[in-house]
């Protein structure tokens, strides 16, 4: 890689409770692309934010198991979530909404003032036990109970089931926005909280992406990878972590138990054709724990896994210089 490489044109702003980064290869379309992305993300927030009483996904609860109309945007996001659930054998499941609430993640993370946010850096911090008064974890109801009729624009969510598209929602938004912005005639990379999708012709030399625990800043020793197409997503238990019932918990839930998964992998980055697939695979790997490296390799998905003790494993053709 030469240092004469022209950096892509960039815009960044806060959205969906995280940071949105927009890179385009043509500076002339940056303003239009940013306007398009902001409008897209506003629609996404109104459709499936779990923290807005007026969002479509929250209002589904009022239908209590009866068919509910859904917008094409929410129908598309639900379809992506249900497909990810099938593809990961339910390790990524959109029916973990109540489990998230039981773990204390019941509002925008920035507003979690009643709990102590605790960044996780080690295995020890995940140890502990539940205090009395904190609901015991319960398995998620199961994605197969949600019936989506995309043609009719209707969904049936059983009574009491709360949906959370946290594992696929941002990724779906990144895929959707990248495709729409590429139609302006440029190469584009859309990153939402470190889950990034690309479309169009990449810049010369490809997109340079740092990979680490935190999407906001690179740590010393974090590798930089080049991608030319597709998507790259990272799931990590070191971010969005807090204390609940005397122990540290985080935002990745094992649907089989309704609790945080066993601490095996700290951070998993996966490259895939779409950001939804990359993020579903990365989250499923954290949930799966032991054997996740073999599962990703078997699926042919290039991935980099970092264990809680700092050990790094790369699989699926991820070319590492470490």
């Amino acid at each position: 890689m030469t240092s004469l490489r022209a950096a892509p044109h960039r815009a960044a702003f806060s959205a969906l409770g995280t940071t949105a980064v927009l890179l385009v290869t043509d500076g002339a379309v940056l303003a239009d692309a940013e306007r398009l992305l902001r409008a897209d993300l506003a629609e996404v927030d109104a459709a499936y934010s779990r923290f807005r009483d007026d969002s479509e996904i929250v209002r589904l609860a009022a239908y209590e198991g009866r068919p509910a109309p859904v917008s094409p945007l929410l129908a598309g996001a639900l379809k992506a979530a249900l497909r990810a659930a099938t593809a990961t054998d339910g390790l990524v499941d959109p029916t973990v909404g109540q489990a998230m609430i039981d773990l204390g993640y019941d509002r925008d993370f920035a507003l979690l003032t009643t709990v102590i946010k605790a960044p996780l850096k080690s295995l020890e911090r995940l140890e502990g036990s539940f205090d009395h008064g904190v609901p015991a974890p319960r398995p998620a109801p199961g994605w197969w109970r949600v019936r989506l009729d995309e043609t009719a624009g209707e969904v049936i969510v059983p009574r009491g089931v709360r949906l959370d598209l946290g594992s696929t929602g941002k990724a779906y938004a990144a895929d959707r926005a990248a495709a729409r912005i590429a139609a302006l005639g440029c190469g584009v990379l859309v990153s939402l909280g470190g889950d990034l999708a690309t479309a169009g012709t990449p810049p010369e030399g490809g997109w340079l992406v740092g990979v680490g625990d935190d999407h906001r800043a690179a740590a010393p020793g974090d590798p930089v990878v080049t991608i030319r197409s597709g998507a790259l997503a990272t799931s990590s238990v070191t971010q969005r972590a807090w204390r609940r019932g005397g122990r540290a918990v985080h935002h990745i839930v094992d649907p089989r138990t309704g609790d945080v998964p066993a601490p095996v992998w700290r951070t998993v980055s996966v490259a895939a054709r779409s950001c939804v697939d990359a993020n579903a695979a990365a989250t499923a790997a954290i949930v799966r724990g032991d054997g996740a490296d073999g599962w990703l390799d078997g699926a042919g998905l290039p991935a980099r896994l970092v264990a809680h003790d700092g050990r790094v494993v790369t699989v699926g053709g991820w070319r590492s210089h470490a």
């Binding site: 950096a7 593809a87 054998d89 690179a218 080049t226 790259l232 951070t267 054709r273 290039p302």
Partner: protein, 116 residues
């Protein structure tokens, strides 16, 4: 002693007349009250219901027979060969940049992928 000149009808007729007038008043009052009540109830029930804070669920009449089976309690078995349910690999795997020598200036990454 002269007879009273204002008594032009017999006493018993006057009493009966008074009773009829009283009865008519009662009847007219009852009819008026009933009409007023009917109008009041009509007005009350004609008022629109207050708008709900959220869109109420549409209560459509059932167009299908009720389900005869319970929903599945277990996840359906994944069908083999279902391409739609497979996570798709990228066309090219990411390539890590080689570590830079100290005298080389590595270009900064365009963005960062990490936990959020």
């Amino acid at each position: 002693m002269s007879e009273p000149t204002d008594r032009h009808q017999p006493r018993h007729v006057d009493r009966r007349d008074q009773g009829m007038r009283r009865q008519r008043l009662v009847t007219q009052g009852a009819a008026g009250g009933a009409t007023a009540l009917a109008l009041l109830f009509g007005w009350v029930f004609a008022q629109p219901a207050p708008a709900p804070a959220a869109d109420p669920p549409a209560k459509k009449p059932a167009t299908k027979a009720p389900a005869t089976k319970k929903p599945a309690a277990k996840a359906p078995v994944k069908e083999t060969g279902d391409d739609e349910a497979e996570l798709k690999a990228p066309e090219e795997a990411p390539v890590e940049e080689p570590p830079q020598q100290e005298e080389e200036a590595a270009p900064p990454p365009d963005t960062q992928s990490g936990g959020s």
